[in-house]
């Protein structure tokens, strides 16, 4: 069975070369080639590839940070690709399936694919020890803004997407609440809300043992009963 792959590399020629080599093996379908982390996140979330060939040095958000922004359930097998192996050690600590050095040798690549196949067949869990997210990308019409987690008051999601709310602005992001909950200090207080514990001004309880959080800029965030206990524990009240 052929594997579905996504290539993420900021250099056009490097992507072309990787695609060429993967096609040569005859056992890989390249679903998409992405030039940065944002495209990568989008492609992974929508295409659910079996494996990604990921360049570590990417603009704005590097390969490791990109992986932090993907839900574990959809995280494909990861093969790092780099021109110079100063990152190799880090990649192994992250327990990637394998890493490749550019220019990539055909025979070496076949071994990598074998490893990926084995991993999928044996259903081994990829233990990726990924960094916390400190900056969350928000894609605008013609630019990408990186929002510092520290300035976010809360995050909420609705049918149109996920939004991060800062003091005076609201930013859209591709990153899911679930990822943000596990990879940042933001805390779940409602099915559709994450709160930044540093931005809480007041907690207001109502009769049916739920309540509301007032943020420092006076936004009111609902607390659902389901998360109240954990929230209290988290805040030590």
């Amino acid at each position: 069975m052929n594997l579905n792959a996504v290539i993420i590399d900021d250099e056009f020629n490097a992507r072309e070369e990787m695609e060429y080599l993967l096609n040569q093996t005859g056992s890989i379908n390249v679903l998409k080639k992405c030039s940065n982390a944002l495209e990568g996140i989008k492609a992974i979330n929508s295409l659910h590839p079996d494996v990604i060939f990921l360049d570590i040095q990417l603009p704005a958000i590097n390969g490791f940070d990109m992986l932090s922004m993907i839900e574990e359930s959809v995280l494909p097998r990861v093969v790092f690709v780099t021109a110079y192996d100063e990152f190799a050690l880090e990649a192994f600590e992250n327990d990637a399936i394998d890493y490749l050095l550019k220019p990539v040798d055909k025979i070496r690549l076949e071994k990598t694919i074998e490893k990926v196949n084995n991993s999928i067949q044996q259903n081994t869990v990829q233990k990726l020890n990924l960094p916390q997210i400190t900056k969350i990308p928000s894609v605008g019409t013609n630019k990408v803004k990186l929002i510092d987690v520290d300035c976010i008051e809360y995050v909420h999601s609705d049918e149109t997407g996920v939004f991060m709310v800062c003091i005076d602005k609201k930013y859209f992001t591709e990153i899911t609440l679930k990822v943000l909950e596990s990879k940042t200090k933001l805390f779940r207080c409602h099915k559709q809300y994450l709160i930044n514990p540093d931005k809480i001004d007041e907690i207001l309880f109502d009769d049916n043992s739920a309540g509301k959080i007032k943020t420092i800029s006076q936004h009111l965030i609902p607390i659902s009963r389901h998360y109240l206990k954990e929230l209290k524990e988290e805040l030590g009240i």
């Binding site: 900021d10 070369e17 040095q57 603009p59 021109a83 220019p103 630019k143």
Partner: protein
């Protein structure tokens, strides 16, 4: 006649005392040109004692004393001036007065006046700017001659009954005038010879210092480090024949050679408080081993008992000390403070002189580092990867890129010129950019605006390429959108200005520690043409980062 012979005998005794005195450290006082108050005090006590002894050695003659009192007062006056001469004369005079006799008043008075007279002679030569003449035995002879004649006149004028005075003068005048004039002259001659000896020793010291300086210069080529310090310490030990020599920087012992090296170990922190004080207070400290003992802070069995600690200064900063040690029960005088101080000054001067050499060496080393920094492995492997990819579609383009890559590395590996023209530098940048443009595609656009009149201007080799690389590494490569680098070379108020600007505005001086290549760009320019010129990097976040090189109108030479 008996009186004369007896007085001459006394003078012989005086000469012996004077000779012995000239061998004591106190004698060195007479070598100094400017006496301090305490020096005056010492000399006062010394010469007063000499004058009083002169009275006691005297020969009683008819109720008076034929004596050599004058010698102490005369020498005091000649050497120390009117105040000292007067003080000694007065003291000896008062002493004489209390011994009594019919010449008590006249002798007391005359001794005071004689001291003053000698002092005036000193003043006279001093005013004539011939202070050395006071040590002239002829001057001493004449001064005492006149002073003694004066004394005789005073005796006759003051002492009563006058007949006795006249009789006395007839008896003592000639012996005293002759013996005292001769005595003063002889003692002065002895002093002069001893001074001369000291000067000669001084000049031997100077020669020695010069030889040390020459030998040390060779060792200080790379500045003060443990290696050079040890060589220096050995030279000092050989040349000065002290017991041991240590050289320290501000914190640690850099070298220790000689007696006690078993427990004074280079590399260890400075243990002695004297040395710490010397560094802190920028002061020479001398523990002479006679009045004060040096106590080794490390070992009780240390044989060293005296030490001279001299701080080494570079500009206004104490950079370390030189320590010369003497051994227990051995004289330290051989090496005096002055020589030690001189040596430290020489070392500091040599250090200063060697700094230029050192900086040049440092640059060569830095340039080697730069060379390594130039061969950025990311660049190399990415370039090769790009060329492989291009080769599949367009072999001719791949060949072109390989030639650019060769040119780029050839220039780096050749690296035989310190300076290049702006044109050569731009060519080098171009080889680099041709590859980067293919690698980064749309992400990298280059715009140049170059005053072609300036292409022949010389700048340090590898000035531009590191800046362009920096603009890509810490600029363009962080951009998700299109990047642009502007390269401008133009005249600004007569100076030459080169600007490399990227549109990322992502450079953060603290976070993106500039590569060694970048830091050297600035350092080399400053070293060559001064601190007014060099590199400045300014970042307007998210807008642009501009690296500006400012050079004098003719570039660097």
């Amino acid at each position: 006649m008996d009186i004369l012979i007896n007085l001459l005998k006394e003078i012989a005794v005086f000469l012996v005392i004077a000779y012995l005195f000239s061998k004591t450290p106190v004698f060195k006082l007479l070598l100094t040109k400017d006496f301090k108050f305490t020096d005056y005090l010492t000399l006062y006590v010394l010469f007063s004692a000499m004058a009083i002894i002169g009275t006691y050695f005297g020969i009683p003659v008819d109720g008076a004393i034929a004596n050599n009192r004058i010698i102490g007062a005369a020498i005091a006056g000649l050497i120390g001036g009117p105040v000292l001469g007067f003080s000694v004369g007065l003291t000896a005079g008062i002493h004489r007065y209390f011994i009594g006799g019919f010449t008590a008043v006249s002798c007391g008075l005359s001794t005071t006046l004689e001291g003053l007279l000698s002092g005036l002679v000193h003043q006279y030569f001093f005013n004539k700017r011939k202070p050395e003449r006071v040590f002239d035995p002829d001057v001493a002879f004449l001064t005492t001659l006149v002073a003694e004649i004066l004394q005789m006149i005073i005796i006759i004028a003051v002492s009563r009954p006058i007949e006795e005075a006249v009789t006395l003068v007839k008896l003592i005048a000639l012996p005293m005038i002759i013996s005292n004039s001769l005595g003063t002259a002889l003692i002065m001659s002895l002093f002069r010879d001893q001074r001369y000896n000291y000067d000669k020793i001084g000049s031997i010291y100077s020669k020695q210092a010069l030889r040390i300086a020459n030998r040390i210069l060779g060792e200080l080529g790379k500045g003060l480090n443990r290696n050079s310090a040890e060589k220096m310490a050995n030279i000092l030990l050989e040349e000065t024949s002290v017991a041991a020599v240590a050289i320290t920087d501000r914190e640690n012992i850099l070298a220790f050679v000689g007696v006690g090296k078993d427990h004074h170990i280079p590399g260890f922190p400075i243990a002695s408080d004297i040395t710490k004080d010397s560094i802190k207070e920028n002061r020479i400290i001398f523990i002479n081993g006679t009045d004060e003992y040096y106590h080794c802070p490390i070992s009780e069995n240390c044989l060293l008992s005296s030490v001279l600690v001299v701080p080494m200064r570079l500009k206004d900063e104490v950079i370390g000390t030189i320590k010369l040690y003497g051994q227990k029960n051995k004289s330290f005088f051989k090496i005096n403070e002055t020589l030690g101080k001189g040596i430290a000054e020489i070392v500091a001067n040599q250090l200063l002189a060697s700094r230029y050499e050192y900086q040049k060496n440092l640059l060569t080393k830095a340039e080697l580092n730069l060379l390594q920094a130039q061969i950025n492995p990311h660049f190399l492997f990415n370039a090769i990867n790009t060329i492989i990819a291009i080769n599949r579609r367009n072999p001719n383009k791949a060949i072109e890129l390989l030639i650019h890559l060769s040119n780029f590395f050839r220039k780096i590996l050749k690296r035989n010129e310190d300076l290049s023209t702006i044109k050569e530098e731009l060519d080098h940048v171009n080889s680099y950019l041709e590859i980067e443009k293919v690698r980064l595609q749309d992400q990298l656009k280059i715009q140049t605006d170059i005053d072609s009149n300036l292409l022949g201007i010389k700048i340090p080799t590898f000035t531009l390429q590191p800046l362009v690389e920096n603009a890509i590494k810490h600029g363009i490569s962080k951009l998700l959108g299109n990047g642009q680098i502007d390269i401008r070379v133009f005249r600004n108020n007569g100076n030459i200005q080169i600007e490399i600007e990227d549109n990322a505005g992502a450079f953060n001086e603290i976070k993106d520690k500039p590569d060694i290549g970048i830091r050297i760009v600035d350092k080399r320019i400053k070293n060559l043409v001064g601190d007014d010129y060099g590199l400045r990097i300014h970042c307007e976040p998210d807008t642009k980062t501009t690296a500006t090189i400012l050079l004098p109108s003719g570039g660097v030479k």
